[in-house]
Amino acid sequence: MSALAAGSDFLPPGGMTLEAVARALAGRFEVRDGRSARALDRTYYDTFDGLVHGAGLTLSHGAGTLTLSERDSGAERARLAMASPGERLLTGDLAVSPMRDQLREVVEVRALLPIARVRIRTRAFQVLDDERKTVVRMMLEQPELMNSRGDPALGTRVRVLPVRGYDEELALVRRTLEGELGFAPAPQPLVDEAVKASGGDPAGISSKIVVPLGAQERADLATIAVLRRLEAVIEANLEGTIADLDSEFLHDFRVSVRRTRAVQRELKALFPPEELRHFRSEFRWLQQVTGDSRDLDVYVLGFESMRALVPETMRDDLEPLLAVLRRRRGAARRKMVRAIRSKRTAALLSEWSSFLTELPDRPEEDRADAGQPISAVAAGRIRKVYRQMVKMGRAIDKDSPPEDYHELRKKGKELRYLLELFGAPLYPGEVVKPMIKSLKALQDVLGLHQDREVQVATLRSLEHEVDAAQGGTGALMAMGVLVARLAEDELAARATFAERFAVFASKAQRKLVTDTFA
């Protein structure tokens, strides 16, 4: 049990003001009626995708304190004195503290953004025993949304906060509130009510793609549903990508573009070929113009782990490299933002949207699979791509050129998207899940191989620029060590490949794929 045990919120019967609630409570209990009401501004924070909410927590800032508490009970987990975090809070900017550690575990690299602002009139109440000792704390709160434009008002609520060791008194207070006074337990915490009233979703905006599909559904309609969801994720992440709120916006944006392209390529017989060619080429362009920026995000984010690869005495020597990477990242971002804001992108997204809307009404003669059941079409592709991978993988040995590994990895991504987008909703989890797992294990090793290959090439390409910087000579030497270590990793990845591939392409697995995706 924590020092602060569970508490909870109650709503007074309709229309009661703060003062009326105070009078009603004072009539029933021996209380200390703190002071007259005071106003308190509170801003709630969460990541774009609601990670704090998902972890059952609430993060708020008010009165110079950042507070992390449990959603249901209101029990405090951590607090940290700080001036207003403003429009964006990154855990990396926080002072070393239990608050930072706990938040980092929940949100990782994601930025915490304001999700609702409220001004609360509060009045503190304490229920006392015969020694005039506080046995239950209550906080009367009358919140209103800030910056509201005729938004619905938020209800008055009473927060009942337990004092440790006084459970009987707490139970009595709760019974009295619910019984005699007609209060109701609040169905949701204040943060949820405030976020909904400001037009948001307390759970955040997810970039996960979960589209339920029926096995007999027409393949084109099922696929359009999936593509619509991908389109929504692309749109949802545009603004955060441009504003550079955190690196995940661009990442989720690119994953959705890549998944869209995989669907276009793998299920091409659902689309009129002429237009498909156009969209495939435009989405490829969108993928390309965002690529450098993402790569450099990864370098900057992963710099600490790269630093850890060189001996401790050389780590500080790598600083000029970080400066060069940051500069490059800035330049790549500017270029990318121009491209994303261009007419070409706007036209692509709006044309794609219209195309998806109109597709079901188009003639079917050049869309051979459109009317087939989605389960049949998806199964055919999954089986096919799996077989292609088995064939490609068998041809790879320790001396194969890096391109062979890279091609296999690209194929693996296609299979993974097919399995996730179509396999998971249509086929038994006990087949699909282990298959995705063994595929992931294989992809991890291929990914490491490819990353190291590219990193070595990138580092080489930066040598000139780093050399010109102050401290460049030391940095070059450290980079030499780094390159050697990265190359070792690449070799190690090759050594692991055979073992991972054997699991992925085992006889049992091949039979399972043939039987399931018949």
Binding site: A81, V163, G165
Partner: protein, 250 residues
């Protein structure tokens, strides 16, 4: 891990309880999860926090690990500060401890389940030399010793050093500080000066004699809470800063 800090002096009436309640209050106010265990059967700290001086199972139940210590803790009126109350039975705690093979290790055992839950645990000890105080020396990371600047106080301090060094108290830190200092009294000024000249390690902060400190009993509240701007409260603030710097954050 909790830091365990005990306020202790062989003599009574030196400002021990006052230090324990004010320092634990300040620790909690700064955001540390804090527990005060009132080990003194006179129950001064318990009275100040308006908690009933009653512990189910008594001191015996605690040291025999029969009572669940977590169920006996009471929240105070101050957020973040909890109290393990005194009980009249604590006056027999020596007897309860005497039955064990390693009696001086018992209090540490009692506190064990709480170490993850609190950043600081304060022990307010009864004035005596006994198995209880030895047990406290064993459990504590630091001993806060209020010293009234009278002629005998230097001797008290020496006595205490002998006791601590002679025992198995490991790396217990001794943190003496002057308490109930009346700077109008020549004797007080002289003793403070002499002791500071003779020995290192006496903390800088000095707690003055003060009507405010005495008013705690009448108000049944912590000085630093009801008169935070008073001179004595300021002295406790300074003392807390010093102690925290010595023992580290919890």
């Amino acid at each position: 891990m909790s830091r365990i800090l005990a306020t202790y002096n062989i003599k009574g009436g030196v400002g021990k309880t006052s230090a324990a309640v004010n320092l634990s209050y300040l620790a909690a106010r700064d955001g540390a999860r804090t527990l005060l265990w009132d080990l003194d059967p006179q129950a001064g700290a318990t009275y100040l926090f308006r908690v009933k001086p009653k512990v189910r199972g008594g001191g015996g139940g605690l040291v025999r690990l029969k009572s669940d210590v977590e169920d006996l803790i009471k929240g105070t009126d101050h957020p973040g500060l909890d109290l393990l109350p005194a009980d009249f039975s604590y006056r027999h705690m020596d007897l309860a401890l005497d039955g064990f093979k390693h009696p001086t290790r018992r209090l540490a055992r009692v506190l064990e389940p709480l170490t993850g839950e609190y950043d600081y645990v304060f022990l307010d000890c009864p004035p005596s030399i006994s198995l209880v105080s030895e047990s406290v020396f064993e459990a504590a990371d630091a001993l806060l010793v209020p010293v009234v600047p009278a002629t005998l106080s230097s001797r008290t301090l020496e006595q205490l050093e002998d006791v601590v060094d002679g025992g198995s108290a490991g790396d217990l830190r001794l943190l003496p500080f002057f308490s109930m200092v009346d700077t109008r009294k020549k004797l007080h000024r002289e003793v403070v000066e002499r002791v500071r000249a003779e020995r290192a390690g006496v903390l800088e902060a000095e707690i003055p004699t003060s009507a405010d400190v005495e008013r705690m009993g009448a108000y049944r509240n912590v000085l630093c809470a009801f008169a935070p701007r008073s001179r004595a409260a300021g002295a406790y603030e300074a003392l807390w800063r010093e102690v925290r710097a010595r023992v580290g954050e919890g």
